[in-house]
């Protein structure tokens, strides 16, 4: 629990992902968030080799706006390693952003190990109607554009730019969705042109994920090979759609530049793209020499909103810990048309120098 890593190293500690587990459900069996989360936390802790009492910081993320239960985090307290009391922080939003906070807390020397959890229940309400309520209440929300429709405006701008075609979108779809050929994807009807049904991620009924982070000393005690976080960057862009060039991602370009990714070797890139065309925008904005893109198949086949980004970090870390990757990058997004973005750089070798973001 006590933060010793920084003192031993004589400087800022470096932090690694040492445990990850997740679960996605397409049909409910009646389990609550706490019931779904408990075994996932157990698996992540078991993979890390740490015990509940080693955890000094807990950061959780969910959407109470999405689940409709105000204060629903109270329900999951029992399954978190929160007793005796530890620092706990809850975020209304994407789990990857909660991981960013846990990372900063460990860098600051608050503790040696942290647990990050995200859980969501995107089908508790009419999700696309709910998301429309979060838009600008004066100029956008009264027209009630659904998330698919806003994404389609972005995809249309990308086609109009001449860089990509609907066939390119279908190529992404056929690579991510098992058993769907490129021609079969192109034969699907439009949801909002140029996007067809398979271009839009399949919303999952429920999702949970847990990641264990540890600073130097604790990370070296990990059961498996640590995936060192060499840098992380999280940025948000304006909510005024017309003020952005939707065919590119200024926030990812900036994040990637700070993490020195442009032109760099990236063995595995895990992209959080709820729409096929967004995978192209994200990969272009990073601009690395990418070995494998979304070997986990990304979020198109199963998308638990609010957990999907944290799962990308877990998948990228697993590629380093258990696969052959020397360097992996995870991307997480939230908001309409890739409004806010996070990049997490994970490496097999511990560096002395952090490529930290903003």
């Amino acid at each position: 629990m006590k933060a010793q890593g920084a003192a031993e190293a004589g400087g800022a500690p470096q932090v690694a992902v040492i445990g990850f587990a997740s679960q996605i459900r397409h049909v409910s069996d009646g389990s609550s968030d706490a019931e779904l989360l408990a075994p996932v936390i157990d698996r992540a802790l078991a993979a890390s080799g740490l015990s509940r009492s080693d955890i000094g910081v807990v950061c959780t993320a969910s959407s109470e706006f999405g689940s409709g239960i105000v204060g629903s985090v109270m329900e999951v307290f029992d399954v978190l390693p929160c007793w005796p009391p530890v620092t706990h922080s809850h975020l209304e939003g994407e789990g990857a952003f909660a991981l960013y906070e846990a990372w900063v807390r460990l860098l600051a020397g608050e503790a040696d190990a942290a647990l990050v959890c995200a859980y969501s229940r995107p089908l508790a309400s009419d999700l696309s109607a709910l998301l429309a309520l979060q838009l600008d209440p004066y100029l956008v929300a009264p027209l009630a554009p659904r998330s698919h429709q806003l994404a389609a405006l972005q995809a249309r701008a990308l086609v109009d730019s001449g860089r990509y075609t609907e066939r390119d979108f279908a190529t992404v779809v056929s690579a991510r969705r098992a058993g769907l050929t490129l021609d079969a994807a192109l034969a699907q009807p439009y949801v909002a042109s140029p996007l067809r049904g398979p271009d839009c991620s399949t919303t999952a009924c429920a999702g949970t994920a847990a990641i264990v982070l540890a600073a130097d000393a604790s990370a070296s005690r990990a059961a498996g090979r640590p995936a060192w976080i060499a840098g992380m960057d999280h940025r948000v862009e304006t909510g005024a759609f017309g003020a952005r060039d939707l065919t590119r991602s200024a926030s990812i370009e900036e994040a990637g530049a700070r993490l020195e990714l442009r032109g760099a070797e990236i063995d595995v890139l895990e992209v959080h793209a709820p729409y096929s065309h967004q995978e192209l925008i994200v990969a272009d904005a990073i601009g690395g020499r990418i070995g494998a893109l979304n070997p986990s198949r990304g979020v198109l086949p199963a998308d638990p909103l609010g957990v999907s980004g944290l799962i990308r970090i877990g998948a990228a870390a697993s590629a380093v810990s258990r696969g052959g990757a020397l360097r992996a990058v995870a991307h997480a997004t939230n908001g309409p048309c890739l409004q806010q973005n996070l990049l997490c750089l994970l490496e097999r070798d511990r560096r002395g120098r952090l490529r930290a973001g903003g």
Partner: protein
């Protein structure tokens, strides 16, 4: 919804309406279903053996779980209480009335519930109480299947 104050040329009102499906979970659903059959079912922690009413998904004290369902009676003890003197809008109970912390026989934790059948000035800590169940046609998988607790003679 009432109109916001100060509505005029510099404000607007927008109605936000949405519908949610809640799932109380397998542990709580089992507890609620038992209440609908006039039974109280706690949960015993596999780690520290404490009996929780209502049962929890994991033990809040030691983290062990899942809990083993154990039947407990509908009788218990007043551990502490408060008398409410000020009426609150929306409350179905008229003051003065009492909330009590009640520990059921066989349970290790308390829960708050209403006291009835006793003048508030006669309530005593340590008094034995029993649940008054809703009539058959009002029984449901709900905490409200117990209307209140009343003292039982020693």
């Amino acid at each position: 919804m009432s109109e916001p104050e100060g509505r005029g040329e510099h404000s607007m009102s927008a109605r936000v309406r949405t519908k949610y499906t809640y799932e109380p979970g397998l542990t709580l659903s089992r507890f609620l279903r038992a209440l609908g059959e006039r039974r109280v079912e706690g949960g015993r922690c596999p780690g520290c053996a404490k009996v929780y009413v209502p049962p929890r998904v994991r033990c809040p004290a030691c983290g062990a779980g899942p809990m083993t369902p154990v039947p407990v009676g509908d009788r218990g003890t007043i551990v502490s209480y408060t008398v409410v003197h000020v009426p609150v809008a929306g409350s179905p109970t008229k003051p003065p009335f009492a909330w009590a912390w009640i520990r059921l026989d066989g349970a290790d934790v308390t829960f708050p519930h209403l006291l009835g059948g006793v003048p508030v000035e006669d309530i005593v800590v340590g008094q034995k109480v029993r649940a008054v169940w809703a009539p058959d046609d009002q029984l449901a998988p709900s905490w409200e299947s117990i209307l209140h607790f009343v003292p039982v003679p020693p």
